[in-house]
Amino acid sequence: MLAIAAMAVIACSGGDGDAVEPEIVIQTVIVTEKGETVIEKGDTVEVVKEVEVIKNVKGDTVVVTATPVLPATATPVPADKPAPPSKSASGQLVWSTIADSGIGSGFNAGNLCCGAKMMSVVETLFKPTHAGGPATPLLAESWELDTTNSPPQYVDVTIKSGIKFHGGYGELTADDLVWNINDTNPNLSETLGTGNISITDGSGTWAGFLGANATEKTGDYSVRINWESFDPRWDTWFFGQDGLGAGIVSKNAYDTEGEEWNQDHLVGTGPFEMTSWKRGDRTVFTAVDNHWRQTPEVTSITRIAVPDETVRLAQLATGDADIADVSISNVSEAQRIGMTAKGSGSARMVTMMFAGNLWETNHPTSGEELDIVTYTHDLPWLGNPHKPADSNNPAGMDDMEQARLVRQALAMSIDRDLINEAALSGLGWPVYIPYFDINNPNWDDKWKIEYDPDGAEALLDKAGFPRDSSGKRFSMPMFAWPIGHFYGEIGDNVSIFWEEIGVSTDVLHYEYAVFRPTLVGRSATQAWTDTGPLENYASTPWDWPRGIQMSALARGGKSHGLENPESTANYQAVSGEATLQGRLDLNNDYADWMSEWLPGFGIVASPSLLVFNPNSISSWDMELGLRQTSNSPELIKLK
């Protein structure tokens, strides 16, 4: 045992060496007017990007999107020792990643998700990945929205000519585009695509957006994309490089090589070609010579799936890996061994959702009466609009108001800055209400929830939940993911503050797969830490639709586990609103409502970062990201 203990001591003891100041790069973006993007100076770096826009907008239909702002809050951590020399061959990089999933198989229904686009193997119609500002063309040359209808019902897109697919599979044409987009659509993929039911990333969202409308070829390099319901996110979210999907792969490769071959290969048009793929293990991306837009400096990148984060850090420490995915809580650990932290600007807002608050009575579209099973017991944090009078409401107060006061108290009782320091090493920032990030220029401090435990206690007293003789007011369960999970740690932190105001919290740490069925079945009644859907990415533009996962529109699928008519109305209204100002006004009203009723509240935002060895990479100026931690490896500059 002594021998093992000695091994542990040796293994865990710090190393020697000179302290080296690491580099942290997080982009800050403020867009001051349409078509212009200015990146402000963060803690350590200043980047300025100019976005070229070719866009035809006619009539009154203006569908540019508002702009996100991402702060640079990271604090550099001094390194204990210099980064090790890389063990990779010259020009090659090894990337230690969590899993190889997301690269997807070689036809569209399977490859739409993140990895293939993030690694620049496939390309989409628009770039940059930056969620806000006017979309910038990538494969698209120009486009023109329907001006005869408001909101528009289609867009005509012309793609660039002369773009070649990898592996000699010919030129990208309108035929490829039509086939890919129709295959993306779950309603058409069986008849107009690969013949498989689309189960791609966001298939339901695609189905709602496109309906059963086919994309049509209008010329050798032009198509008309018809949709069911206009969505202001059509360009950057549905057809953008960091959006839901529609990465374009070769129809010719599918037709000539067949489905089985295409399940193992990915034929795109990007600066990197996927030259080897061992599922569940590693993928090799090789640079494309003389690429049409950017020939990479790196000759190849090998992504190796390493599930354990400690091991990924070990690979960095030994020089076996040049790049690694690490969680936010381990970024400083990587910095201590000399690594550089970098992100695309993507950040996730962690929120506390009060599942079980089912306030809608009928389905928004079908009109069917909803099955509501969460009000069997009168729980303090659940407001019951279907039977607002019950035995424990204070005089003159209904159950909805009583529960609202409880949720307000719970939201006021937590010190977000302290949680940021404790769980995110100060790399994040506070979030007050779900879906709305404090760094967006549209943010209004009236939505801020001050840390006020005394005020929280007063609200709980007012709501009829005084402390009992043991100092407790009531008990509540909270689902907080498995122990060791980042959201779980946040949940633990929140529970400490709740205990302080007399709310005994039973923190439930188990697998999401166990909790999920209760969300889908709308039977969950506990609070839970959630980062939610697209809306909970901090860089989501202010004018994008919000509320689908707080709406009965999402019945049948996973949601936050709560439903209210206000979210339904907002999602539907913003989705159908053609004007930018109209969408901004609607979402501002929604933020007012959210701030007052708090079906959930915000805790902290966590920026997505990866780390790399500065002895391998001298710089990596990524495009601005929406949900991916990184992008554009073709922009990597080698040391």
Binding site: I4, G110, Q263, K278, G280, I304, V311, A314, V520
Partner: protein
């Protein structure tokens, strides 16, 4: 012997059948089995499409029909198609199995040879410092959690001493020595507990054999000490460790889940973990059945080996 064999065979089949029933039954216990197949963001998919999916996976049929069809396919070696990869599960398992078997083989060598060797040493040097030292090592081997040992070995051997790579399996294009170096740490961790088992079993068997009359006779006849230990005693003492080897090998396959995850080893164990995270029921069912079959078959072999070697067992 025949009766014993048939009884064990029936028991093995019943166990396997129970495994299939539990695996399939659990997958159908939720409110809507379709949720196993359809991902988080399925809202917005039309009822028509959902019905198509139900029909595609046979979820629109009664439980017993689904089970019979599923079993029929399993018997034919058809585990269905992976939801995540959209490829046949059999093909996926076939791709991943060699890595697990290779690791198991190396771990078995690293566990059995030193385990048996030290077991002999401990028995022969009974009561000496060697005996206490090896028994302490065996105790540590059986008491040390592999998750802790794995991380410790990575930190010590790979990060601090830089003797071996910390994780993953080397690409097949690398040199033999490079590929071999990637095997050492995961195989050591996987084989650490069985190594201790071998040591203890060999020691106790050797002590028993060394006390037996035929060994005394051999010594009395003037057979050399080396010959008594290695030719006469060890051959008899190895019966128990050898039969246990069947179960040890099975445990290397089923026990690979953790070691493969920590060391990023692209085998069956990691596939099982990923399938769980992906809600990929067909893959998970395939892997669980493979694990179950491995254990049942190895257990059966161990039972039969015992009976062949020791007649007292088959007459019980």
């Amino acid at each position: 012997m025949q009766k014993f064999f048939i009884r064990r065979l029936i028991f093995a089949f019943l166990t396997l059948w129970s495994i299939t029933f539990v695996v399939f039954g659990l997958s159908r216990m939720g409110p809507d089995p379709l949720l196993i197949y359809v991902r988080d963001d399925s809202y917005g998919i039309s009822e028509e499409t959902l019905e198509k999916l139900r029909a595609k996976w046979g979820l629109d049929q009664p439980f017993h029909i689904q089970y019979i069809k599923w079993m029929g396919a399993i018997v034919r070696g058809d585990f269905g198609e992976s939801i995540a990869a959209q490829r046949p599960v059999t093909k996926i398992i076939a791709e991943r199995l060699p890595a697990t078997l290779q690791l198991a083989a190396v771990a078995w060598i690293l566990a059995s040879i030193p385990g048996v060797g030290l077991g002999v040493l401990s028995a022969v040097k009974r009561g000496s410092m060697w005996d206490y030292f090896t028994r302490t090592l065996a105790l540590i081997g059986q008491a040390t959690p592999s998750f802790w040992l794995a991380i410790l070995m990575i930190l010590l051997v790979a990060v601090r001493l830089e003797w071996l790579p910390p994780a993953t399996k080397a690409d097949s294009t690398e040199s033999f020595m490079t590929q071999a170096s990637y095997f050492v740490l995961p195989a050591l961790v996987l084989g650490f507990d069985p190594w201790a088992t071998y040591l203890r079993l060999t020691r106790s068997s050797m002590l028993e054999v060394l006390d037996s009359e035929f060994v005394k006779l051999a010594r009395a006849k003037g057979v050399s000490r080396t010959s008594v230990i290695w030719r006469h005693a060890l051959r008899n003492a190895l019966i128990q460790p050898l039969t246990v080897s069947a179960l040890v090998l099975a445990s290397f396959i089923t026990g690979s889940v953790f070691v493969e995850t920590v060391f990023a080893w692209p085998g069956i164990g990691r596939l099982a973990v990923q399938a769980s995270l992906d809600n990929d029921f067909p893959v998970l069912a395939g892997v669980v059945l493979l694990f179950g079959t491995a254990y049942v078959v190895m257990n059966f072999i161990a039972d039969v080996l015992y009976a062949v070697i020791d007649p007292r067992i088959r007459y019980d």
